[in-house]
């Protein structure tokens, strides 16, 4: 009973605006203290801080964040944007939203965060909307919606955190995200195509966008410029798939390759930019890891009191079909995602949810992908949607309500996607050995 009360105190600490990590850690510390006194608290916390802090799996986080930072800050996003739009020119109407979706999908294979996608493409797209008169809601939706693919299509920092906390193989969860990522990207493209079929005027006047006649040579040049990105993707993901390297090693090699790519693209070594990427990667890693370490302290506190096992026993004994339990979790994440950011939502819930998922016989790799998709939805559901804030940072003159409204179709599509992969889990597990 006291343990339950202590755990419930999260409901007071979080809305008070206490740092999520501190709230989780404090609850864990209180649980450890009330069970075993000061010695248990100090040794338990020391052990958790050190062992989580030096974990090899989670050390891939700074590497993939660094990789994404270098590619974004060196302006390679614009290479993608120009390249893909040249390839699409003359083939479809509504080049801007299509370019954003395809570009975000490919860029997702080069970085592990969603906001990187939104930031990389948002700045490029804003002036083009003005020029062409293309419907801004259509483009904003594509930006925030396809931006979420950053964490679904490998590499994915979200998958790393999930695996770091549960012990599931990173390589498996990375590879499992690939097919759902490609399918969702395709679904977004189909959605834009339907919208444009119904309302062709939404595409605006694209002659202002690509004023020159695009020749086959231009297309070939664009394709060649995109080639280095393809090589990096092949080597980072291929090396994981073929077992040549661990995800952490792939992250380091990908980081080094992205530095070379940026030097080739900018035709100079921009030391200031590269150093900025190191500092930023360190800070983002510290932020993420602090939450994970504190969640592990909470997890330890919960298991010392046997709260997790009680909860598992309780839910497993209820005469509920497992799909209904999954649907309940889905609903919980939908609501939680409106108010709590994705990483916090995952680390907060995994100590409770993961044992239940395992006891119900769901595949842990498959659930890693589902968890990622719940977080994707959370990233674009108002009021607390990370991608929505990022986009507003890029287009500060825009009203938040417009951005919220533009994201809604993508929320619906992602919910449908989750439902589909719950019913057809085999599709997620195609590449899992």
């Amino acid at each position: 009973m006291p343990a339950t009360l202590i755990t419930m105190s999260l409901l007071v600490l979080l809305p008070m605006g206490v740092m999520v990590a501190v709230a989780l850690g404090s609850v864990g510390a209180l649980l450890l203290y009330t069970k075993g006194g000061l010695p248990a608290l100090i040794s338990g916390v020391g052990f958790t801080v050190w062992n989580t802090g030096i974990g090899f799996t989670l050390s891939a986080i700074p590497l993939f964040v660094f990789m994404g930072e270098v590619l974004t800050r060196s302006g390679i996003g614009s290479l993608f944007f120009r390249g893909i739009s040249v390839l699409l020119a003359g083939l479809v109407r509504g080049i801007i939203p299509y370019t954003v979706i395809i570009g975000s999908s490919i860029f997702s294979a080069l970085n592990g965060l969603s906001i990187t996608n939104v930031a990389a493409f948002g700045t490029l797209v804003a002036p083009e909307i003005q020029k062409t008169g293309c419907d801004k809601k259509l483009v904003y939706g594509a930006l925030v919606g396809a931006g979420t693919l950053g964490i679904l299509i490998p590499p994915s920092v979200t998958a790393l955190i999930y695996c770091g906390m549960t012990g599931v193989s990173v390589a498996d969860v990375f590879l499992a995200g690939l097919i759902p990522g490609i399918i969702m990207s395709f679904v977004f493209i189909v959605y834009v195509a339907i919208r444009l079929r119904l309302r062709p005027d939404l595409a605006g006047n694209e002659q202002h966008f690509l004023s020159d006649q695009i020749t086959s040579l231009d297309r070939l040049k664009a394709l060649l410029k995109l080639l280095p990105a393809g090589v990096i993707i092949f080597f980072t993901m291929g090396s994981i798939y073929f077992g040549w390297a661990t995800p952490t090693e792939a992250g380091a090699v990908g980081g080094a390759a992205s530095v070379l790519f940026s030097i080739g693209y900018q035709r100079r070594v921009d030391w200031r930019m590269l150093w900025g990427c190191c500092l930023s990667a360190a800070k983002i890693t510290a932020m993420i890891m602090f939450i994970i370490i504190c969640a592990q302290i909470m997890s330890m506190g919960l298991s010392t009191w046997g709260i997790t096992s009680d909860l598992v026993a309780l839910l497993s004994n209820l005469p509920l079909p497992r799909l209904l339990v999954m649907a309940m979790f889905g609903l919980m994440y939908l609501v939680l995602g409106c108010f709590v950011d994705g990483t916090s939502m995952m680390v907060l819930s995994l100590p409770f949810v993961f044992p239940i998922i395992q006891s119900l016989g769901f595949h842990p790799v498959w659930f890693g992908v589902m968890m990622t998709m719940f977080i994707e939805i959370g990233q674009i559901t108002p009021p607390m949607g990370l991608n929505l804030f990022t986009l507003q940072g890029v287009v500060p003159q825009e009203r938040m309500e417009v951005i919220w409204a533009s994201a809604m179709p993508y929320v619906a599509l992602l919910i449908l996607g989750v439902a589909f992969f719950v019913l057809v889990p085999q599709l997620v597990l195609v590449f899992v050995k």
Partner: protein, 168 residues
């Protein structure tokens, strides 16, 4: 009083920025070490033998030495949806409490980290890997990072209290 406060803020700023820079260097070292390991293994069939172990130590340096700067830049995530909508005086009081909770928690982490490091030093614990690195050295980095983080929170706490008393 104000001069003293300004000096404290400046000292803490230098500490946080400095620690963040060291952790930036740790990111670079991590990449170099792992790439070297992969190249040695693939092309020369050899190994640095300490890659996994030292990657972990660098990771710890990256994380703990950037905590303070992360706090300074307001990057640590909190759910401030309700807090932002509260009237000013009430919000400031809650912010004071939040700082106290954070300070108390990080001080506890510091204590736990300090004790672990002290015991490693006392018992001469070394790593399991072939390098036999004395564990207290990388653990000391964790302690230093947590100490700077605690000081950064303390500094922010004093500033919040200052604002609070000026407002009232």
């Amino acid at each position: 009083m104000r001069g003293g406060r300004y000096r404290l803020v400046e000292v803490v700023r230098v500490l946080s920025v400095g620690a963040n820079r060291v952790s930036g260097v740790a990111v670079v070292l991590m990449i170099i070490l792992i790439v070297a390991e992969v190249v040695l293994r693939k092309f020369f069939d050899r190994s640095t033998t300490l890659c996994d172990e030292y990657t972990g130590y660098f990771q710890a340096a990256v994380v703990f030495l950037s905590l303070a700067q992360c706090f300074k830049d307001n990057l640590h995530i909190s759910v401030d949806l309700i807090l932002r909508r509260l009237p000013n005086p009430l919000r400031r009081w809650i912010e004071v409490i939040n700082h106290l909770v954070a300070l108390f928690f990080v001080a506890m982490l510091l204590w736990a980290g300090g004790q672990m490091t002290w015991e490693s030093f006392l018992f001469g614990s070394t790593s399991y890997g072939p390098s036999n690195t004395p564990l207290f050295i990388p653990q000391l980095v964790v302690v230093i990072g947590l100490a700077i983080f605690a000081i950064q929170i303390l500094c922010s706490f004093l500033l919040t209290i200052g604002k609070q008393s000026e407002a009232s």
